[in-house]
Structure formats: C-alpha cells, structure tokens
C-alpha cells in the first residue's frame, strides 16, 4: 500500500513571494504518477501539476514547479509569485500505473496568501 505524507498542515506567504509545500511518499512501485491538487473553498479539486516517475526532469506549469527526488521519495511544490487566488488547500497525491488508477492523498496543506 502507498502512503503520502504532508507535514505542513498550514502555511502562509506574502503576495508575490515564493513558497514551497512538502510531500513525501512511500511505495514499492517503480512506475507511478504524482500530483498536486488544489481545493479552494468552492470544493472543486483542480489539478495543479503532474509528474511521471520515469521522467527525471521536474515538471513545470507556469508559476508552479516541483522538486521530484525519486530516491528520497520526495515531491515538493514550489509556487512562485504567489497570488491571492492561490489561497486553497493543497493535496499531494499518488497514483499507480497499470490498471488501478485510484489516488492516494496526503492530509493536505492549507496555504494562505497574504496581501
């Protein structure tokens, strides 16, 4: 079974600054996918960024980037130039490759961007 750990229940950052959210995971799988999802107060789960484990290059999506350390089983999210709209709960999630595609979520990090 997989586990995903987010050790930061809450974080805050000043608008326009950079913040990093931490995530570690445990698995015996060699092929898998990692995700960061954002959940604002509207409850809608929004995909922020995705990383395939077989890719060494870290994924980047505009202001969002990850630091994927496969050997250390670490998958942190960096948000640059933070905006007020980034305020949300952020979940790190793991998905096995193959036929079983359910997600295992971390406990979440509530990020607040301060004006």
């Amino acid at each position: 079974a997989q586990t995903v750990t987010q050790s930061q229940p809450e974080m805050s950052v000043q608008e326009a600054e950079t913040v990093t959210l931490s995530c570690t995971y445990d698995t015996s799988e060699s092929n898998y996918y990692l995700f960061w999802y954002k959940q604002p107060p509207s409850r809608q789960m929004i995909l922020v960024i995705r990383q395939e484990a077989y890719k060494q290059q870290n994924a980047t999506e505009n202001r969002f980037s990850v630091n994927f350390q496969k050997a250390a089983k670490s998958f942190s999210l960096k948000i640059s130039d933070s905006q007020l709209g980034d305020t949300a709960m952020y979940f790190c999630a793991f998905m096995k490759s193959g036929s079983a595609r359910q997600l295992t979520f971390g406990s979440g990090t509530q990020l607040t961007v301060l004006p």
């Binding site: 809608q44 789960m45 995705r50 979940f91 079983a100 359910q102």
Partner: protein
C-alpha cells in the same frame, strides 16, 4: 478534459434516511471512483465503480452502507444508506480517462449534512 456533473451539490438529511448522489460525465471514461472527505480532512477512496458489475470497495466501506451503480461508461450513483451524523461529509466523484494523460477529474462534490 472530462466535465463532470455531480448532483446534488448539497443536502440536509434526517438520520435513518438515504441519499443518492449522481455523477454524469460528458465523455466515456475508463474508471470512476467515489471519495469521501470528512470535515477538515483529506480524501479517502470509498470504492471503484465498475461498469455492469459490483463496485470494488476499500477497507472500511461496505456495499450495504454505500451501494454503487454504474450502468454505463458515463454515469454512476452512490447511495449513502441509513444515515447517521457521522456520515456528514463531502462526497466526490472522480474519473480517469486513460487517453487523457492519466489525469483524474473531479465533480464539484456533494456536501451532506445529517441531522
């Protein structure tokens, strides 16, 4: 991307009754899942909805309490039966379309309050 319509968005139910949640996707998808998000917590997988056969339940979830149907590739229902206040949660439908880069899409969730 896949667009998911989940209904109802919220409901208040009396204990002992049941609530059925519907999930409609705008395209044929390979996998459909139901998650529960208890207040202030992360998402936990209830079950995988299998087309034309019984759902696959995760540990701690049983068919008598959470019956699930999936008559075709675009529609599923989750019923939460014999409601108690402990069932007060957000319930989310999720789909994975393997042809769409492995991304998981989510409905907007159903906020259930049991009184």
């Amino acid at each position: 991307s896949a667009v998911i319509s989940q209904k109802p968005s919220r409901d208040i139910c009396q204990r002992g009754t049941s609530l059925t949640i519907q999930c409609q996707v705008d395209s044929q998808v390979t996998m459909m899942f139901w998650y529960r998000q208890q207040p202030g917590q992360s998402l936990t997988l209830i079950a995988t909805a299998n087309q034309g056969s019984e759902a696959t339940y995760e540990s701690g979830f049983v068919i008598d309490k959470f019956p699930i149907s999936r008559p075709n590739l675009t529609f599923s229902t989750l019923t939460v039966s014999n409601l108690s206040p402990e069932d007060s949660s957000i319930y989310l439908c999720s789909v994975v379309a393997l042809l769409l880069n492995t991304e998981a899409f989510f409905g907007q969730g159903t906020r259930l309050t049991v009184v």
